[in-house]
Symmetry: C2
Subunit: 408 residues, 2 copies
């Protein structure tokens, strides 16, 4: 079992970060970060399924697939380097060159990630100056990791990081992560930008397998607005410095690692959903009693992406008809006249629907439950034992405000 500890990407042995205000687009704040590992890392990644892929996504897919090792990640906020053609691809190579020179690592070991406005070109002079400024400042402190997590934010209101520790054969293994993501969030394969570092020793194949399996239950189960980004990237770097015997098969150690990775990814995913653009509440939806996992996933994601349901959550309104409606158009088959529905939060829990029809519940009590910063809806379709959990947020005035004029 793992223990949750303080910090993010710098707590695993051998990992350092730096961050700087490069002035790429934001004023008066940091907008670049760098992750560096003292030793070469096995790297795994999952990326957006949007066929409009940003240049850094294409770059990282190549590195993860073809390079034996990765050792650094250069991240910028403000400009996404998406829809930037051949020029944008060239900037990824230039970034890797600059980091390679500054850190004395091969260019093929440098991953890059960008987030921000689509369609603008990166100011490479500022990006290179940022890399030069960060390299001498690399540090493995918790504070340095936290600064990095802040630097990659766009419309995020909170930095997002988490870390856990567990033991393998007497060796302490650490897994930590940070991410950013607030809008254009409807991951499909992975989410916005998420970076996980670990000192575990594990084969590259199993690292990728563990990540690919886990994103299905974590990043792929959140949605802020139904828009799958061009830049979604999740990278995991494992440098082996924990000193455990390298994991090369799916044994008990692998399972322990998967559990820790799941906690880190799920926590980061929920932090993104709970910090969705303009949102006032994390909205969790559990579908239980499903006949298959796929059915439960389809139903729960349909509910968290329903604009009408999300607006009702913002209004603390137990408008369960919209939830049943969203289940009905999801494409999944079920009997609406068997559905039970419950709401719960720190303020209590209550059943709203039994067998598809409303109970004589107290609207006042329901509103009280729905007024908490984290609210859960549980739908039981009574067909089997499969279940799924999805996370989203409410739809608010501020979501519209933020997105009606994001570019200016």
């Amino acid at each position: 079992m793992y223990t949750v500890i303080e910090g993010g990407v710098t707590v695993a042995a051998g990992f350092q970060t730096a961050s700087t205000a490069a002035g790429i687009k934001y004023k008066n704040r940091k907008d670049m970060a760098m992750i560096y590992s003292e030793k070469p890392c096995k790297a795994a990644g999952t990326f957006t399924t949007n066929i409009v892929k940003a240049a850094p996504v294409k770059w990282d897919q190549k590195i993860v697939k073809e390079s034996e090792y990765a050792q650094a990640v250069v991240i910028n906020a403000g400009i996404a380097n998406a829809c930037t053609g051949a020029e944008g691809m060239g900037y990824c190579a230039e970034t890797a060159q600059a980091a390679s020179a500054a850190l004395n690592v091969p260019e093929s070991a440098v991953l890059v990630a960008s987030t921000g406005v689509i369609g603008m070109q990166l100011p490479m002079d500022k990006l290179k100056a940022g890399i030069a400024a960060m390299a001498p400042e690399l540090s493995g402190t918790i504070e340095s990791g936290t600064e990095a997590a802040k630097s990659i934010m766009t419309t995020d209101t909170r930095k997002k990081e988490v870390a856990v520790q567990f033991e393998i054969g007497g060796k302490t293994v650490t897994v930590g992560g940070m991410c950013k993501g607030s809008g254009m969030i409807h991951p499909n394969m992975c989410t916005m930008l998420s970076f996980v570092t670990t000192d575990i020793a594990i084969s590259k194949e199993l690292l990728q397998e563990a990540l690919s399996a886990d994103v299905k239950d974590t990043y792929n189960m959140i949605s802020v607005d139904g828009d799958t980004s061009t830049n979604d990237t999740c990278l995991v770097l494992a440098n082996g410095m924990a000193g455990n015997a390298e994991i090369t098969e799916k044994n008990a150690d692998y399972e322990e690692f998967c559990k820790a990775l799941n906690y880190v990814n799920e926590t980061l995913a929920k932090k993104m959903a709970g910090d969705g653009e303009g949102c006032t509440a994390l909205f969790e939806v559990k579908v239980i009693g499903a006949e298959s996992k796929a059915q439960a996933v389809t139903l729960s994601k349909s509910i968290i992406t329903s604009s009408l349901t999300k607006a009702a959550i913002f209004g603390h309104d137990a408008n369960w008809g919209r939830i049943l409606c969203a289940m009905g158009y999801s494409g999944a088959q079920f009997d609406p006249e068997k559905v039970d529905l419950f709401f719960e939060s720190a303020a209590g829990s209550m059943q709203i629907i039994k067998d598809g029809v409303a109970l004589d519940y107290s609207e006042e009590q329901a509103t009280k439950i729905l007024s908490e910063p984290e609210v859960t809806a549980i739908a039981d379709v009574k067909m089997g034992n499969a279940s799924a959990t999805a996370w989203g947020c409410d739809l608010t005035f501020d979501y519209v405000k933020i997105n009606a004029d994001y570019r200016s």
Copy 2:
């Protein structure tokens, strides 16, 4: 060719309407309407594909399928009679009984339609009193039709009606329609409540075929919020009183009718999109140069349902990256680096993207174009000759306001 004329469902020969303030849920306004034909009608219908179907949808599906004729429609606003179990189905039968007695038509010739809050039961005493009050007031005037169109509104801000006339063999044929719909609009098979009346003589089979084909290009191509309602219903009643030789095969007369029906349905569909909850602009999206109609439909619908794109339209912001992004996650295959994108409106037109990359366009001019009440985006994917047009609206503060507390 057809001519657009004044009026709605009462202009075709033999059709009358009445409306009343039955006090079902709204105060101080009409909330019930009735359509009646002097002669029995062939009836066709298309209905929601949501598997959570409101009781009136199930009732009408049975009538359209099994009854030889229909002669009346009873409509109420305020309560949707959805998720109301056996009790709700019983209310449809009671409504038909009451209308049957009041109008001297068979129960099997009475269609019913409801729109409003999901999950509440209808107050049948008020509904029956409404039917009794309306029956003696039936009238074929244009004003009566307009009053009916107003009575069925929920969050709509404008009544929606349209009518056209054309000739078949020296006989004047009229097709008129009215509809309501503003939120929970993402039709799949048909849209919210739409009623089309015509005096054409046509076989029941061809009437249904013409409608089923037409909804694919009209009601199924609009979206306000991505939520497919439990109550979507489109009904067409044809009473044959134009005196034309009954259309029983797909001849030139059938084609003329299809064109007129398409105009009526497309006009009503656009009126719904342009009156989407809280919206300030009708947003039209044309995808051209597609390799298939299906591809063009998928791409255009993905754009009009993108929350981020819709928020940008509200902000008059030419944030084309969101449009390309929405195309990219639609599931349709295309080459992002070949896409051209144009914006146009009454204020002018301009190209924004050429071959996937932004042109050096004037943001000021783009904002001017996007500030009109009707704006169009045209995406050319340069793969073939197929195209599709979809209609939606912008995402605004008022959409959230309306839906955060719709029930109170």
